[in-house]
Symmetry: C2
Subunit: 375 residues, 2 copies
């Protein structure tokens, strides 16, 4: 049987000549070689992964590539956010060049968001752009970073401040690999799934409220949740590839979230990205409710659902030393969603009704954060 | 008087929403502030330049920016090809981020190709893409790197192996700044001017044969030569922004040229880029003539014109230790214009009739180089 012919779901990201498919289903890893060869031909590959993922999934991928007669070098990096650095980028770029991969050859990211962002950025800049294939192994990466072409690394001045837009040629989201994720990491990814309901699809959010346990368990509900999420993101990205307008909606919860991650020192023991987004979304709903834009009941519903999924929803949920409003404001000011001194936030008129507010006053944000910290 | 309203020539690079103008004329540096403000608004700027250019032209630029009430930080780098490194890229990126420039703000490159490539790449990757303004101060940069959006740095494995396509928002080519160039550098830039005649415009090449001295002297002939060159490159780039096909014509002389530069250790005392391209174009014509594709008389005419302009036309013209065929072949193999083991060369059927040959055999190239070295 050829799994490629029967992914459980397929989402097309419509970007003209940069358009690509996201195949979603259980067991797709074993069909990776055939899928890559079908789309890119007999290319040479550089598989970028981290030590944790390599131990579990690299042998299966290499077997699948060999079965399709595709040559690959492997580049195995340390796990963790610290890998998204200029030093590791240079190491990947050098190894790809040393292997003499050419423009039509491909970098394959096998891993979560860190590996996808780093490997994608390497693919974007080696020879001014090589082909790129994503095999996301975390729920977060499957529903978020695998769609939209954002790649990059961190700077000592902030997260994701250096990068490029570079679309993959193919994304393979194998839902079975998620069975190996720690529960905390699955929950963190689920925050981004809930986000697609909150930002523009109240029916999907209601479906998640009913089916959360099934999504966590795996099977058809999980595939559906991932496909709906990818389709939602794909539609937004297709309308706004370079993040000039509507795409900013995807940042629901992210301006607060990034500031929280920075304030927590990007220490995954304290806070991982999805958890930061969960708190950020809860804050965005409460902030909107406080401004009289959204019903308070919706803010409460959001908080209840995220808590049920095992996610944090308040700044005080972050363990370790207390986070101050000053520090959050400083990070918000360095965030790249700043234009001419006014802050851009994603606010909401209620569940499924998020919108881009381009002129939020820093003073209002500070007052809100101080009230949250006093809660 | 407002020089902006009256550049001597203007070339539009048609790339849809990424389209931009190249303004060409004497004295445009003094009008840079007004031109930038007119197109980008009241943005903040990071002016990237090198020590040599800063000493001559930076005060005039800063005065022009202040006159238009535009804030700028300045980043002054060491001159020379060695500046196109990851280390200097990181320094520029860090300073731009430290100054808190935002996506809509702009990096301004004031300098030659090295500064344009490095600053443009920094603009491409800071916050996944900032605005970019080019003020090229060498003839080479005015006719070549200012059009087409190629940016990048060198790797220890080769030249320009790391980079991005990132179009500027505006290019200001002040023909008067070229008066301060050393004669050798002006001649090197002239090689790229001649290239536009050779690759597709026999009439322009004939005009250059008549008017070479006037172009070197300055005035209207120089402005015309620059404008015709920019227009030729702009037309090719507009048809093929990502270098998938026709754009490769611009590499006439460059595959040989890059290999020569690498073999000469990127030592500007031995060979600068334009000189390498001059030898490369002479080689491409002789190689084409040897293959029976082009008249031998055309190859001789090319050699005569380049020599009259003070440019080298043979491998043996490179001073220092002898360059070997083996070494050139090794560098040609690492060049990014390689696909699946066959070499891509720009060959010609005669002056103004260059074409892309995608399947040149390495053996034929080696035989030709050995014959050239025995000449």
């Amino acid at each position: 049987m050829n799994a490629i012919d029967r992914p459980e779901a397929a989402v097309r990201v419509e970007l003209g000549e940069r358009g690509y498919d996201i195949l979603i289903g259980s067991g797709l890893l074993a069909a990776a070689g055939a899928a890559i060869r079908e789309r890119l031909g007999a290319v040479r590959l550089a598989v970028v992964t981290d030590e944790n993922v390599a131990a579990i999934h690299l042998p299966a991928l290499l077997l699948a590539l060999r079965a399709a007669d595709l040559d690959a070098i492997t580049i195995v990096l340390p796990p963790g956010e610290a890998t998204k650095s200029l030093e590791h980028l240079e190491a990947v770029v050098d190894q790809v060049l040393e292997a003499r991969l050419e423009r039509g050859d491909a970098v394959v990211a096998l891993g979560g968001g860190v590996i996808g962002d780093l490997a994608g950025f390497a693919a974007a800049i080696v020879r001014r752009g090589m082909s790129f294939v994503q095999i996301p192994t975390s729920l977060l990466a499957q529903v978020d970073s695998s769609v939209g072409g954002k790649t990059g690394i961190n700077s000592r001045l902030g997260k994701n401040l250096i990068g490029a837009f570079h679309q993959p040629a193919l994304v393979l989201a194998d839902t079975a690999v998620l069975d190996t994720l720690p529960a905390r990491e699955f929950a963190a990814g689920y925050a981004e799934v809930a986000k697609y309901g909150l930002l523009g699809d109240a029916d999907f959010f209601a479906w998640l409220e009913e089916n959360r346990a099934a999504v966590f368990a795996g099977g058809a509900a999980r595939t559906r949740a991932i496909a709906v999420s990818c389709r939602a993101k794909a539609a937004i990205v297709a309308a706004d590839e370079r993040e000039q307008g509507e795409r900013a909606l995807l940042n629901l919860g992210h301006t607060f979230g990034h500031a929280l991650e920075a304030a927590a020192g990007f220490d995954a023991r304290r806070l991982v990205h999805g958890e930061a987004v969960a708190i950020g979304m809860a804050l965005a709903h409460r902030f909107s409710a406080g401004l009289g834009l959204a019903p308070g009941a919706d803010a409460e519903r959001v908080e209840r659902h995220l808590r049920a999924a095992g996610l944090p929803t308040a700044i005080s949920d972050v363990p370790g030393s207390a986070i101050e409003a000053d520090e959050l404001m400083r990070h918000i000011g360095q965030d790249k969603k700043v234009r001419q001194g006014r802050l851009t936030f994603i606010l909401t008129r209620g569940i499924g009704r998020a919108f881009v507010a381009g002129d939020v006053s820093p003073g209002e944000v500070r007052s809100f954060l101080e009230a949250e910290l006093a809660r």
